[in-house]
């Protein structure tokens, strides 16, 4: 078990708070202008209205995967994320202001408003993601290949859901990474659902980590949505990768507290499931650990919480206050 330093642990705690607040605040922002549907009679909700239109996939409950991983990463390490990308971006150090602004479609956003919430690119912090399931894995292999060719000890982490693990790109990428001994870490966020389809309904075996053997790479399963355990398991994989010992597959069982996207009626969820999941909240878990080990005083805690809230608040304020891109930008950036 690799233990984080107290500083790291406090960093993880704060990041989890920021992520949670970012996501839960978005639940309400997202509804602005959509309810009641002024647009059209009879409509319950209009996805295309309000300051944040389009699909919105939130990661509340899944923070441990992001922070337990990113605690090991440097600016020069690369991440490819998923359609549910905010927690990864925040933990990787992407500007939360530019992130929020992108979600609002503003010109101050990461992609000048062109990308939107599923398509966040930060060249400086080496973060990218995609709305296409499984698409990040091949690109992660390429980033890792680049690091190898450049002779750097940079690692690449690629996140994907347990649903994505049944996409062909998973197989091709794991084989390529193992074959070429690439410094890439495949992290499966297993939240039991791919929209309404449960893991049992999508996956022939219980643990995706067991698939690692088919590529001759280590495969480890983290079962308890505990940031410290994610930290430990990912730490080993990152060390291996940095040392030129090749790729790893890690599976993290985690919990999606909210709908697949906002507006999801979640008829497929057993009654009371979410409430149950929330009882073992990973943020509380880390908090209790910090308190029990005397790493965090009450004052500390308050300070961290306040700072996290302020960070999120400022980000959304920045996003709201920013301008939309001029429509002349629509034809720009097809090519650079």
């Amino acid at each position: 078990m690799i233990e984080p330093t107290t500083d790291k642990m406090l960093w993880m705690y704060e990041q989890m708070l920021i992520i949670r607040e970012f996501e839960e605040t978005m639940v309400n922002i997202y509804l602005e202008g959509k309810l009641p549907p002024e647009i059209q009679e009879g409509l319950a909700f209009d996805i295309g209205s309000g300051p944040v239109p389009g699909e919105m996939h939130l990661a509340a409950g899944q923070e441990p995967v992001a922070v337990g991983t990113c605690a090991h990463l440097k600016k020069d390490d690369t991440i490819t994320g998923t359609h549910r990308p905010h927690h990864f971006a925040i933990a990787k150090g992407v500007s939360i202001n530019a992130l929020a602004a992108e979600i609002f479609g503003k010109v101050t956003g990461l992609g000048r408003g062109k990308g939107g919430h599923m398509h966040l690119f930060d060249v400086e912090n080496k973060f990218g993601c995609s709305g296409i399931i499984g698409a990040g894995m091949p690109q992660a292999c390429g980033a890792a290949l680049a690091a190898k060719k450049k002779g750097k000890d940079w690692v690449t982490v690629t996140f994907f859901g347990e649903g994505a693990a049944n996409q062909g790109s998973f197989h091709e990428s794991l084989n390529l990474a193992a074959l070429w001994n690439l410094p890439v870490i495949f992290i499966c966020e297993d939240n039991s659902y791919a929209i309404s389809v449960t893991k049992d309904e999508s996956t022939a075996i219980a643990n995706n980590a067991d698939r690692a053997a088919g590529y001759g790479m280590p495969g480890v399963s983290v079962d308890n949505n505990d940031a410290l355990e994610v930290f430990s398991v990912v730490g080993e994989a990152v060390s291996r990768a940095r040392a030129g010992e090749g790729p790893s597959l890690i599976e993290c069982k985690t919990d999606r507290y909210l709908g697949h996207f906002q507006g999801d009626a979640e008829a497929y969820r057993p009654e009371g499931e979410v409430e149950k999941l929330r009882e073992n909240d990973p943020i509380d878990l880390l908090r209790d650990h910090l308190v029990a080990s005397d790493a965090m005083s009450d004052d500390n805690e308050k300070e961290i919480k306040d700072r996290a809230s302020a960070t999120v608040k400022a980000a959304y304020e920045f996003a709201r206050a920013s301008d939309y891109p001029d429509t002349s930008e629509v034809a720009q950036h097809v090519f650079v």
């Binding site: 059209q40 239109p53 956003g109 499984g134 996409q167 309404s196 939309y324």
Partner: protein, 339 residues
């Protein structure tokens, strides 16, 4: 709803009713795709089918489009009649080989010995800020590669009739429904797409475009959601004395060239309004058909095309609005052509 004779259905309900009636009639018909069962399809195209027909005939799949769309081809070759959903057309790139090299070609390569009665349904279109990977139309791309019938309904009546026609066809049919005309409870839509739909089974034949509005001054060729934007524009233009003939293509393969040519021969002007990418696609083809017939058609002015001008669909609301042709763009373009 109300009286059966006037019963109105959303396009989503019309599609699932078409599927249900064929499932009732023919036990070889089954449905599969991501979230088509418990969820009823993300855009409601398979709503209610699971309850009625059970999990053996309405199957949720893993996110393995190559496997399950390829499986649809394999099952169809054995006499089943699968209806398979690709959740968004934007995802075609993960499974295109199964679609265009196999589903579309196996009949031809077998010299007509193989039959492939498969319907591949998929959601298209933007307008609700879902950005570059979830807002495309791409029907022109599929119409370009040979071997697929391409169906693009604009309203509930056509949608049901063409779904039944598609399921009964022994060839692969790709069936494109625009999200913004499905009549969803959670997305603004053009209400003109919700129409009277007879309860009984009926078919709408492929290869017959529909003149949805007669006019004399200009022919406006369009399809899918853009039919509704076109009708809005035509109404506004009428008050200015411009008489627009609006043609809803309904299917791209087979394409009803005659209806287009006859109309342009009458109006002597052609405008194409399309939500797909501009270049090397649908709008060029419509223009070319007319240009190939300039011995029998006079054009009073150059043709005009409205489409997405060769950029990915941007997320930001003002940008998306500028990228996708709107009613007002159609209006302005046509005014320009009449000047």
């Amino acid at each position: 709803m109300g009286n059966e004779n006037n019963r109105e259905l959303t396009m989503a309900a019309a599609i699932s009713e078409g599927m249900a009636q064929e499932m009732e009639r023919d036990e070889n018909v089954f449905v599969m795709g991501e979230d088509v069962a418990k969820y009823g399809g993300i855009f409601g195209a398979t709503g209610g089918l699971l309850d009625r027909f059970g999990a053996d005939r309405v199957m949720d799949t893993p996110i393995s489009e190559t496997a399950f769309i390829g499986a649809a081809t394999g099952a169809a070759a054995e006499g089943m009649r699968p209806v398979v959903e690709l959740m968004f057309v934007d995802f075609f790139g993960v499974c295109m080989d199964q679609i265009y090299n196999h589903m579309a070609k196996n009949i031809y390569m077998s010299g007509g010995n193989v039959k492939l009665p498969v319907v591949l349904t998929t959601a298209i279109g933007g307008g609700y800020n879902d950005a570059a990977q979830h807002s495309q139309c791409l029907y022109g791309l599929f119409a370009h590669v040979p071997g697929l019938k391409i169906v693009v309904p604009s309203n509930a009546y056509d949608a049901k009739g063409m779904m039944i026609e598609a399921i009964r066809d022994d060839n692969p049919v790709m069936y494109f429904f625009h999200k913004g005309i499905m009549g969803l409870l959670w997305m603004a839509y053009f209400t003109g797409s919700t129409t009277h739909v007879p309860e009984e089974s009926y078919t709408v034949p492929f290869g017959k475009a529909k003149v949805v509005r007669e006019g004399n001054d200009i022919t406006l060729v369009t399809l899918s959601q853009m039919v509704h934007k076109s009708m809005q524009a035509a109404e506004t233009l009428e008050s200015d004395g411009i008489s627009v003939e609006v043609i809803d293509l309904r299917t791209l393969v087979p394409l009803d060239k005659d209806t287009i040519l006859n109309s342009v021969a009458k109006t002597n002007r052609l405008c194409v309004a399309d939500e797909d990418y501009l270049s090397f696609g649908l709008s060029g083809e419509i223009v070319a058909i007319v240009a190939e017939n300039l011995d029998s058609i006079d054009l009073t002015c150059p043709v005009k095309r409205l489409a997405v001008k060769d950029m990915p669909i941007p997320y930001s609301p003002p940008l998306e609005n500028a990228a996708i042709p709107q009613s007002s763009d159609i209006e302005n373009t046509i005014r320009g052509m009449m000047a």
